[in-house]
């Protein structure tokens, strides 16, 4: 019997709220020798973890429900919240079953957290995962392939087994399927945002951070079928893109508040890892070279990546507005988020040049007061409806 939207979303919500990561613990306990590798935003090649028979586990901070006690002792007040709540998760043993942690190249705070992890949890495999900012195959590509090889070797030690090219090819195919479904969900929401509220889509993607990829793919298929079948009224909302939330996550209430204020979110940059590589990655040939090539030439644009062509800076956002038939952009960045906040003026300029309305505000993962955000988003929606 097919599942209803409510059933699917309830499950996702339960996964989202579970700060002990019970589903991942159960996955690990189900068979002896299973390993779990955590990763932080914004991108790691999950295919290689999966190829080693391990569970990639997205660690996106502690969210609004986690009281940070120990974590605050490690950070000054002017540093964002995600590293402190991540340390809180670790110190309180909520992620004590994690065998490895990957810290992607996104900013200096997450970069330094990789070293803190080495000092604080020396028995856990911890790696700063660097990616090239040079996009030539023979320069950045060669460097990246070697980085991937080093990562693979490190993960082999965690897994206690060799990871073959064939293993990685199979995993690439599995993730290709997952990316296709993610894209379908995003496209579905773009076409009928009233049928796929953003907070539901958000929870659906969050589920992909903790579930085995195959299960997540099935969950998205179920959701699409259920959401299509659901009869939901279309509201007179404006259509906006939410930008800047690619690392520390907003409280779920913030996502809901924006929609309640009259904005359909038709695109966002939450959990970019789910759709970082654009389109299918080839499954034949050298799998590491394929992952590298895809990263260099067909991957998402975000603040953590250098844009070599100054005339193209922000163009991806202008294109997204057009492709998603959006009417405006809301910049919602975490407080003290260097990548998002340093990028914002350039993106805002690109939008202004294209005559696209935009507003901005900041949040923290534990922001409690939604009324100001609701008012701001509501005024923005009214402005678009009345004058654009």
């Amino acid at each position: 019997m097919s599942k209803t939207v409510t059933e699917i979303v309830d499950r996702c919500q339960a996964l989202f709220e579970d700060l002990n990561f019970t589903s991942a613990r159960e996955w690990k306990a189900a068979e002896p020798g299973r390993k779990v590798v955590g990763y932080m935003p914004v991108y790691v090649p999950r295919e290689i973890i999966h190829a080693g028979g391990m569970l990639p586990l997205g660690i996106l901070g502690g969210g609004e429900a986690l009281e940070v006690i120990h974590g605050d002792a490690y950070y000054q007040s002017y540093i964002c919240r995600i590293p402190r709540s991540t340390i809180e998760l670790a110190i309180t043993k909520r992620i004590d079953f994690v065998d490895g942690m990957l810290f992607p190249s996104i900013c200096d705070v997450i970069r330094n957290l990789s070293g803190m992890w080495k000092l604080m949890f020396p028995k856990v495999y911890a790696r700063y995962f660097d990616v090239p900012q040079n996009y030539r195959d023979d320069i950045g590509g060669n460097y990246y392939v070697e980085e991937l090889r080093e990562l693979k070797e490190g993960l082999e030690e965690v897994a206690g087994r060799t990871i073959t090219d064939e293993d990685i090819r199979r995993s690439i195919a599995v993730y290709n399927e997952n990316r296709r479904l993610v894209q379908e969900v995003y496209d579905f929401r773009t076409k009928q945002p009233w049928k796929a509220p953003s907070w539901e889509v958000y929870l659906l993607m969050r589920a992909g951070m903790v579930l085995p990829v195959e299960e997540h793919t099935q969950l998205m298929q179920d959701y699409l079928a259920a959401a299509e079948a659901e009869d939901r009224p279309m509201k007179d909302n404006c259509r906006i893109i939410l930008q800047g939330s690619f690392c520390e996550q907003p409280p779920l209430n913030l996502v809901k508040s924006i929609e309640l204020a009259g904005c359909y979110i038709v695109d966002d940059d939450y959990m970019l890892v789910t759709r970082w590589l654009l389109g299918d990655c080839p499954v034949d040939g050298d799998p590491l070279r394929n992952l590298a090539s895809k990263f260099l030439h067909e991957s998402m644009e975000t603040a953590a990546k250098y844009e070599p062509d100054g005339t193209r800076k922000g163009q991806y956002l202008v294109d997204a507005v057009r492709d998603r038939a959006a009417e405006g952009v809301i910049f919602a960045a975490p407080s003290f988020c260097d990548p998002a906040l340093l990028d914002r003026p350039m993106l805002a300029n690109a939008l202004s040049r294209a005559d696209i309305p935009h507003i901005s505000f900041k949040y923290a993962e534990n922001s409690g007061q939604m009324q100001p955000i609701r008012e701001q988003a509501g005024t923005f929606a009214d402005t678009i409806k009345l004058w654009s």
């Binding site: 002792a73 490690y74 950070y75 000054q76 002017y78 540093i79 590293p83 810290f103 190249s105 996104i106 900013c107 200096d108 705070v109 970069r111 330094n112 957290l113 990789s114 070293g115 803190m116 080495k118 000092l119 604080m120 790696r127 700063y128 995962f129 660097d130 090239p132 900012q133 040079n134 030539r136 023979d138 320069i139 950045g140 060669n142 460097y143 070697e146 980085e147 080093e150 603040a303 250098y306 844009e307 070599p308 100054g310 800076k313 407080s335 003290f336 988020c337 260097d338 990548p339 906040l341 340093l342 990028d343 914002r344 003026p345 350039m346 805002a348 300029n349 900041k362």
Partner: protein, 434 residues
């Protein structure tokens, strides 16, 4: 106070006068580029490729140095406000905002003349994520030629051959062609070798000077004085005859101070009694630099080693620019800068300083603007306390935003800290001037 206050005139030694003249001449050179036709590259201090830039007869303009200059001349506050009015977040690096605000106000150099628009933005992305965004912002403003050198981070605490190859290949195939194109000068590797030879000579003397602080009393202050000592080698002078001469001169002066058993020179004279020997982590505050320094020398505190003086090269751990391996050596230089080292490596280095320099304590000056330095410093502090048993303290200021320098709070914290060191000594810790 411990400094001789016979005269309120700041003591200027020959090396200081020489450095002042070098800096003034460089600003004159930069601000007259439109008339002379000299091409100008803008680049950053950590991982700066001054020798390479000189191979193309280009001038080197460093935005951080301009921001520091404006900070010390109390001009940065208004510039930061200006940038914030333009939409730059109050949360981000104030070097960036001071630079952007400065541009909005005509980019006036300390000599009162406007800086030229750079012909090339040479983004050496070394040890600081903000650099990348900063250059994108500058490119947005200037619209000039840009080239990027991505320097991978030493995540596992070592330089791998893959990292080195990546940097060298970028130098060969991106950076050098961009410099050739902008300057119209063909690259001559022998010219680079010659500059690197001079760099290494200057680096030898810099290291001698920095290590002179192992003596008791230390003849230098390796933080407040140290920022002057690193000036030439971290900026537009590494590889020049001027830098070689400067460091010879400086070494001679410090040798004389050492032989005479003298302490460091402060803005108010010579420090006569070394009471506390400190290792300091993090950049200084620039907007109240003198006031900040005074809080130390008034108490007889001398910084014997600092990490900030390694941000543009960790020479005291053995690295030298190598004329026999010019591009590889530039790569290793960039890869090895302090903030490009992982946190365990930073802790190890500080622990080494604490021991080798016989420090009484460890102080972190945590900078709001600089996550590259600051994220993780509280853990560094704990680690150092645990490993050395010496007391540590933590203060918070900013680089060039005067709003984040609270003199009373900092002074209070420092005074309590010095008392803590005294207490520790009474309990059997080390004494400063043995």
């Amino acid at each position: 106070m411990n400094a001789q206050a016979a005269s309120q005139d700041v003591i200027k030694e020959p090396s200081m006068l020489k450095q002042k003249a070098m800096i003034a001449a460089n600003f004159d050179k930069l601000t007259s580029a439109n008339e002379t036709g000299q091409k100008i590259a803008a680049t950053y201090v950590p991982g700066n490729l001054n020798e390479l830039i000189m191979c193309f007869d280009m001038g080197n303009n460093l935005p951080e140095i301009n921001a520091i200059n404006n900070g010390m001349r109390k001009k940065s506050g208004a510039m930061i406000t200006e940038a914030e009015k333009q939409g730059h977040s109050e949360d981000v690096c104030t070097y960036v905002k001071a630079d952007i605000g400065n541009m909005s106000r005509g980019a006036i150099a300390p000599n009162g003349k406007p800086m030229p628009v750079p012909d090339l933005l040479l983004l050496s992305y070394t040890g600081c994520f903000t650099f990348m965004k900063w250059f994108e912002l500058l490119r947005d403003q200037y619209g000039c030629e840009t080239t990027m050198l991505h320097v991978p981070y030493e995540g596992d605490g070592k330089i791998t051959q893959n990292m080195r190859d990546y940097v060298v290949k970028q130098l060969k195939e991106d950076v050098i062609p961009a410099l050739e194109k902008v300057s119209g000068v063909k690259f001559d590797i022998d010219r680079l070798r010659e500059y690197l030879r001079k760099s290494a000579a200057a680096e030898d003397n810099l290291v001698w000077v920095l290590e002179s602080a192992k003596n008791k009393p230390s003849p230098i202050d390796a933080y407040f004085g140290g920022v002057y000592y690193i000036g030439p080698i971290f900026t537009a002078f590494r590889g020049t005859d001027d830098a070689v001469e400067y460091y010879k001169l400086l070494r001679t002066e410090i040798e004389a101070r050492l032989a005479a058993g003298k302490g460091p020179i402060t803005p108010e004279g010579e420090l006569t009694e070394e009471k506390y020997r400190l290792v300091v982590e993090g950049p200084p505050n620039w907007t109240s630099f003198r006031d900040f320094w005074k809080m130390f020398y008034d108490e007889g505190a001398v910084v014997v080693a600092s990490t900030y003086t390694k941000v543009g090269g960790v020479y005291d751990q053995g690295f030298r620019h190598d004329p026999d391996h010019p591009l590889e050596s530039l790569a290793d230089y960039c890869l090895g800068c302090y903030t490009n080292r992982n946190l365990p490596g930073r802790v190890d280095l500080i622990e080494k300083y604490m021991k080798e320099y016989q420090a009484d304590g460890f102080l972190v000056n945590s900078i709001k603007s600089c996550n590259s330095f600051s994220a993780g410093q509280l853990l560094i502090m704990r680690e150092i306390e645990t490993r050395t048993g010496k007391p540590a303290a933590f203060i918070e200021t900013d680089l060039v935003d005067p709003r984040y320098f609270s003199a009373a709070n900092v002074k209070n914290r420092l005074e309590s800290y010095f008392q803590m060191i005294d207490q520790k000594r009474k309990g059997g810790g080390s004494a400063a001037a043995a």
